[in-house]
């Protein structure tokens, strides 16, 4: 009956042969093959071996998720291999150890495969001198405008300047001037003078996003990143180039000049714009969100996220957020409202209550709603959202947690199958109480224009016949939402809820990945995390008690919901666990 949760979706790969190498004199065993940027097993490179040895090798152009080009030269190291005699046998030292023939030339650690017995030297004076030389070269024509640069604080030039920089420049020539504040596309600005020509942006755009839109024009020191003149850089992944850019060359128009990076608090979270559930970091300061950036999770989004999802955060800070508990239009308190609702629900005859949950709610919230549903013998469903999908990350399901709604029994394989029944029940007078979470039922079809105010992801909500006239027939309409809408206006009870950024919880993505997210900012006014007040409501109505912490709540849910059996909040880790759906 119960399905054990697993951390891996794929069967274990066959064991890879290990070989011994030395990094700065320390011997380690490393796999002979390592997955490259595309996931293909290729000979392990020096930089990968150094990573396993916890030895930092500075680099600009190398990125584990992008093809290797070896152009920055920052990762040059010295190395040696076991010396071979004329008899093709290893030459031994007097102490019996193999004699190492040191290579007269350095090698780029990002592209040079390791071999058994190889010794990698990352800390020699020559290596230090090479790094200093590369860094100096990168800086001579750089504008050194850190004070006004958005990348300041997370810039690799700054970072390595601490280790390999010089206190004064000896460069006395005129700098090369290149285009600045280039409007590369609707979301991206380029400062070509800051660019170090590592080509990460080009490779990401061509090889990951599949849009061969960026290139290098001109020659030599005048090389410049560019699009074809007149063709804006505009695909749904352009902002990832800002992430991979190790310097301040590519900046996000949205984040540009908004906040110094070092003031941002980074909170681990999950994107809610579709069912993929890309892992993100929410960058916030003083209860204001400034940006989302993707967070590595190879089981979900690698290191990327789409632009639409990334920019879908502004609604959280909207001034017209629901901040007050309203009872029949009048400002009230949580205690008063919840007591009234509890009394009504306790008295409600079986089958007279319907619940429309939202697949934007967390697993925990949906599970708490399922407790109410069981107690009240309520009919329930949710609302599907669908839209365009792509080959990389964007899912056609625009709800972040439809699988959570299904697994907790709040909706079914065919989402929305009960909506007409609920409408009929209200029409016939059988259903007198409707609990609605996060869904504007009155909004039938959704035009892209009205939607764009709330979301940048295009989506379609199907018609279901739950019109304003019909809802007016209800004795009790309880609505929890984040933003005001036609349905909250009709509600007898309005319970102001929280955006995911304002609470903790978990979602189950389209592939069954259960992923938790953390609270980044405080909710405005009296708005409260849904799981908190739902817990109160469930306690009042069912008498079940217990879970005042999200950990406890999740762990109890994991015991009771078969798909989640075996999971614990802490075991979800930062990147989640995949369950059978």
């Amino acid at each position: 009956m119960s399905t054990a949760a697993t951390t891996e979706t794929k069967p274990a790969a066959p064991a890879i042969e290990k070989i011994k190498v030395k990094v700065d004199g320390r011997e380690i065993e490393v796999p002979r093959l390592t997955a490259d940027w595309s996931g293909k097993l290729t000979p392990t490179t020096m930089i990968q071996a150094c990573e396993l040895a916890k030895t930092d090798v500075p680099h600009y152009c190398w990125h584990p998720k992008l093809p290797v080009v070896g152009n920055c030269r920052m990762c040059l190291v010295e190395f040696g291999t076991p010396a071979m005699g004329p008899d093709r046998k290893p030459v031994m030292n007097p102490d019996g150890t193999p004699k190492i023939a040191k290579s007269p030339r350095p090698a780029i650690s990002c592209a040079t495969p390791i071999s058994p017995g190889m010794e990698i030297y990352t800390k020699t004076p020559a290596v230090k001198q090479m790094r200093e030389g590369v860094l100096e070269s990168l800086l001579i024509n750089h504008p050194l405008d850190c004070p006004i640069c958005d990348q300041a604080g997370e810039c690799k030039l700054q970072e390595y300047s601490v280790d390999y920089g010089q206190s004064a420049s000896r460069f006395v020539e005129a700098k090369v001037h290149k285009p600045k504040a280039v409007d590369l596309g609707p979301r991206i600005m380029l400062d070509a003078e800051r660019c170090i020509l590592c080509t990460r942006c080009i490779r990401f755009t061509r090889d990951i996003a599949g849009d061969d839109a960026l290139g290098i024009i001109n020659r030599g020191s005048y090389n410049t990143i560019a699009t074809f003149p007149g063709m804006p850089f505009d695909n749904n992944y352009t902002l990832n180039t800002v992430d991979v850019c190790p310097v301040g060359a590519l900046t996000s128009k949205d984040f540009r000049f908004q906040m110094r990076a070092w003031f941002l608090k980074e909170t681990k979270s999950v994107c809610t714009s579709c069912a993929t559930g890309c892992n993100i970091l929410i960058g916030s300061r003083e209860e204001k969100i400034y940006r989302y950036t993707p967070r590595d999770n190879d089981a979900v989004n690698a290191s990327w996220m789409c632009d639409a999802g990334r920019l879908n955060y502004k609604w959280i800070g909207r001034a017209d957020r629901l901040k007050d508990v309203l009872v029949r239009g009048q400002k009230s308190t949580w205690t008063a409202a919840l007591n009234e609702i509890s009394d009504k629900l306790k008295k409600a005859p079986a089958g007279s209550v319907a619940i429309i949950a939202s697949a934007r709610q967390t697993n925990e919230e949906l599970w708490l709603l399922s407790k109410l549903k069981a107690k009240l013998s309520a009919i329930s469903d949710s609302i599907a959202r669908s839209g365009a999908e792509d080959k990389l990350l964007v899912c056609d399901d625009k709800n972040p947690n439809i699988n959570g709604a299904r697994l907790t029994g709040m909706c079914f394989t065919e989402v929305g199958i009960n909506l007409v029944k609920i409408a009929d029940g209200i029409e016939s007078g059988k259903i007198k109480t409707l609990i609605v979470f996060g869904e504007n039922l009155v909004k039938h079809g959704v035009s892209a224009k009205t939607l764009s105010e709330k979301e940048t992801v295009s989506e379609v909500v199907e018609q279901h016949g739950l019109t304003a006239e019909l809802l007016a027939k209800l004795d009790t309409l309880i609505v929890s939402d984040i933003l005001p809408n036609e349905t909250t206006k009709l509600a007898h009870y309005v319970l102001p809820g929280c955006a995911h950024a304002e609470k903790r919880g978990s979602f189950t993505n389209t592939n069954g990945r259960v992923q938790k997210f953390m609270k980044a900012v405080e909710a405005p006014g009296d708005a409260r995390a849904e799981w908190e007040f739902l817990h109160d409501l469930v306690h009042n109505v069912t008498g079940q008690n217990g879970f005042v912490t999200i950990e406890g709540l999740f762990n109890q849910m994991a015991k009771e919901v078969s798909a989640f059996n075996g999971l614990t909040w802490s075991a979800l880790g930062d990147t989640g666990v995949t369950v059978q759906i």
């Binding site: 061969d212 290139g215 024009i217 001109n218 020659r219 699009t227 074809f228 003149p229 063709m231």
Partner: protein
């Protein structure tokens, strides 16, 4: 103005494409063919090339901007290239370039292509033309001239009608 390839150009390009198992490889030769016919390579010509070779325009633009022989602007009727590099310089190339510039009213300090106001000449001080034994050397269009004295230079300019 949009780019209008002639049937001859189309035919030449179609033939060039057959020389390579991968269409992209024809890029440079196609650009040469366009330049031979039009004298330069316009933005529309880049887009036409990209379409012809199933590429993105930036792929073609990347190489167009790399190679100095490929022109992004119309050139003079006669393209004069004077070799600048060491052997020719030892043989008087700077003086020769200066001579041309002075004669044609151009800036002798500029090494990149400069076109006379009447659009007749483009003079460029180029890197090694690989005929160092007969310095100084120069080209006018596809024609090569060796051991060019100032008198010979005047003769060459005079011959450009």
């Amino acid at each position: 103005m949009s780019f209008q390839p002639t049937p001859e150009l189309e035919a030449e390009v179609n033939e060039l494409i057959t020389h390579y198992p991968v269409k992209r490889a024809a890029s440079l030769m196609v650009l040469h063919a366009i330049q031979e016919q039009f004298g330069w390579i316009s933005s529309e010509a880049v887009q036409w090339t990209a379409k012809k070779l199933e590429l993105q325009p930036i792929n073609v633009f990347e190489i167009l901007t790399f190679y100095p022989m490929l022109r992004q602007e119309p050139q003079g009727k006669y393209a004069i290239k004077v070799c600048r590099t060491l052997s020719c310089a030892l043989g008087g190339a700077y003086e020769l370039h200066h001579h041309f510039c002075e004669k044609l009213g151009l800036d002798a300090h500029k090494h990149g292509p400069q076109t006379t106001k009447d659009g007749k000449f483009t003079v460029e001080f180029v890197e090694c033309l690989a005929s160092c034994g007969t310095a100084p050397v120069m080209m006018v269009g596809d024609k090569f001239y060796e051991g060019v004295s100032h008198a010979k230079a005047d003769e060459i300019v005079g011959g450009c009608k």
